[in-house]
Assembly symmetry: C2
Homo-oligomer: 474 residues x 2
């Protein structure tokens, strides 16, 4: 049975596109989340075109073998992790930028294009593709679409879904859905593109996207502010949001993140020893406006109690400061394995979340460093532990869950940008309640009736009941 | 049977909320689109709270009586038009602004709140709710959500869906779905809110929305430019978009619209007799930036061949100029009944669409005036005819369809912001093809299995086939 499927895949998708070598398959079986379960695939299939994707899906549907779609594997929830006996359908070979229509400020792109390559390509036309997840130098557009990825730029420019005009998707029977448009506006029928975006490979395989582009912003000016307490940094964020300022970037680092970054870069960020939190802001408005924005941001940080502020409109220096933020997760590997969480809270509650994380770190006796997108309240508390110790692993899991509890209790969500995948299913149910779960299952059943795509990732398809009650979580 | 339902509705929703007076029912039986079919409802029900909406839906579901949800009735596709024997569920009594959380720049609002009232309320907190459909002084937020309404501001700030964080929706069995969030970002599960937005009352009844707000922009500066040809105006739009300028408003009027507006306002817009198209731009960036933007816009209009340009940063004068644009549809009533179309094309194709509309007007021997949101390519060619003449009506219908054909042939969509409703169903199928139709029917069937909500509006639920072929329209 399996060999029949493999033969058909080799015949229809191409022998070189069907991988059964165990070592190679191993590297396509999981993403970057250490605690997510993963299985052993029957094969890894890497079609080079949409017809190959369709052939693969049809063959797997006929053989009742599940399909797990996958991009570069930079995910942080195990959403692209293999399950036993599945076919991992990798879209990285669909790596063409089909079209850049500068006059209409849009592009058509295949899922395998690396985010940074795409950004670079459109920037040559003076255009800007905003979504920039931390893994932007190796993650692919397909994965970004499947998870509705965010990043550092989204405080001003929105997340992936905000840039998408249309999609091409291979459905569970292998047919090709083209949905959306090339126009700025359009309301012909349901907004199907936005349904597939963020569906984590459970509804179809995205094989092409039409995305809108923005004018390339001005080179950013950068401000760093150090605060004596987390509360003061949170207060600064609240003031900035409350005053209606929209920086193009606003990141926060707690003391643990600052120290890790300094240790890793073997440098002193100049924040002083008593700095407990650091805020990093940029304005890409250019010229006098940027200067005014930077002055206002600096003033608000001072008003909130910043002990140090430093601003620069030198691009290289700004990039260096931003680099200190970007390396935090890598830097934490100095101390052990990291397990990063992803909660978003209303922007006035950031300080409370950080305080909660510090308390949880003390309770479980592990290092919990908090780094996050302060401008949209999306925080990544990161737990450092030794995975070879069963006890530390258990404590890390406990901290991971406790942080989600705090996030929910502050009116937040259990995932701001990473997704649910194979690690937060119980939390999805807790956040959206039984009616929400029922709607998810109905939609999944309607579009993928045989549960072909990424089965039981995000949620188990067999729920208990219909939508007879109101949301339990409310 | 009907009287049983009426008794139950009176008992459970309240006698004063159940209207069966034929005259009153007549005024709730259709929207603003003259050519859309409409029927005679069994009753008009106006619940005052979400429990009333749930009770109404449950009672109708039990009685197998269709429910047509409706806001103020400003729609332009008949989407809210009654069908024979239905219950029209009017949400205008759910008219509370539940919360304005200025610190987190969000608000919670019921569907019956009038768009302008909501804008005014949040502006008192220095905040801005961008979507501003032309009917903003009487349309309701609920209708805006159901149609994913656009408006004049969306060139810079997006359409309704871009402002929505979360929704509360009564489903077909009366259960209450709470979906979305209060945080800026969030990816917990499918993006259900964006599925319901623009679903034109076919999937549920929206009873509450959580929307994000922006800082109130600066008072706009305004530029008017008159062009000797439509092509020159189209060229100006293409230059502006191509140069990466993002005005906060960019509207276009053809000669017919200009003359109608002048006739109606009994004024001379000062464009000169040889002006064939007028472009109206605003910048709300404030101060020096706005001045620079206005200069650049003016220069590009001149470069494209504008015969006159006039700019002002006087707010009252700017509003007066904008008023000339806003009254076009009303002004066209001087000449007869209007039938307005709604196509969106890539922004480089605007001149071609306008030329096509002029040709069609000549062919059918009717006045076709074009007014539209040039900044996002969303045009409203408007046909003036005498509905008492069967022949003129037939020619008006033909022009309406021919304009859609031209729009599609230019890579556009058959609806930029009005929707499909009861007048463009064949066009929806033509635009999105059989696979797209199949997905629509599957989703409708999954969430509303007994076809309770607005049955056969937007599309007929019984399609011919599964998704075996690729999109026909491609």
């Amino acid at each position: 049975m399996s060999s029949e499927l493999l033969n058909r895949l080799r015949a229809e998708v191409g022998g070189e596109s069907v991988i059964t070598d165990e070592d190679i398959m191993g590297s396509y079986s999981r993403d970057m989340m250490p605690i997510a379960p993963y299985g052993k695939p029957l094969a890894v299939v890497m079609p080079a075109d949409v017809e190959g994707v369709q052939a693969c899906v049809r063959a797997c549907a006929d053989a009742c073998v599940p399909v797990v779609p996958r991009g570069a594997g930079s995910g942080l929830t195990g959403a692209a992790n293999a399950i036993d006996g599945c076919v991992v359908l990798v879209t990285t070979k669909l790596d063409e930028i089909v079209e850049i229509d500068a006059a209409n400020r849009l592009a058509v792109v295949q899922p395998g294009v690396v985010n940074l390559d795409f950004r670079d390509a459109v920037s040559k036309h003076g255009l800007f593709y905003p979504p920039d997840p931390s893994s932007y130098d190796w993650c692919t557009i397909g994965g970004n679409l499947a998870t509705n990825a965010g990043g550092l730029c989204c405080v001003k420019y929105g997340v992936t879904t905000d840039s998408v005009l249309g999609l091409e998707v291979v459905l569970a029977d292998g047919s090709l859905l083209r949905t959306g448009r090339r126009t700025v506006k359009g309301v012909a029928g349901y907004d199907l593109a936005k349904l597939f975006i963020g569906s984590e490979g459970t509804l179809g395989v995205i094989t092409q996207a039409t995305v809108s582009l923005r004018p390339l912003p001005q080179a950013p000016a950068t401000l760093v502010a150090g605060f004596p307490t987390t509360a003061a940094a949170g207060d600064a964020v609240a003031r900035i949001v409350g005053e209606g300022l929209v920086p193009s970037l606003m990141e926060i680092m707690d003391a643990g993140s600052i120290r890790a970054s300094e240790d890793y870069l073997r440098t002193d960020l100049g924040t002083g020893d008593d700095t407990q939190a650091l805020l990093l802001c940029q304005s890409d408005s250019g010229g006098e406006v940027a200067r005014r924005e930077m002055e206002a941001l600096e003033q608000m940080c001072r008003d909130a109690g910043a002990g140090m502020t430093y601003s620069t409109d030198d691009l290289a220096e700004g990039n260096m400061l931003l680099h200190a933020r970007r390396v935090v997760l890598t830097a934490l590997e100095l101390y052990g394995t990291w397990l990063t969480d992803d909660v978003a809270v209303p922007r006035t509650r950031i300080a409370e979340l950080m305080t909660g994380c510090a308390r949880i770190g003390e309770e479980v006796g592990l290092r919990v460093a908090v780094v996050g997108h302060a401008g949209d309240g999306n925080m990544h508390p990161t737990i450092v532990y030794d995975p070879s110790s069963e006890d530390e692993t258990a404590r890390a899991h406990r901290a991971f869950d406790d942080i989600l509890s705090v996030g929910l209790s502050l009116g937040g969500t259990v995932t701001g940008e990473h997704g649910i995948g194979k690690i937060k299913q119980a939390w999805l149910e807790r956040e959206i309640g039984p009616v929400g779960m029922w709607v998810h299952r109905q939609i999944k059943g309607a579009l993928d009736p045989h549960n072909l795509f990424n089965p039981n990732s995000m949620f188990a398809v067999h729920g208990e009941h219909g939508p007879e009650g109101d949301n339990a979580g409310e």
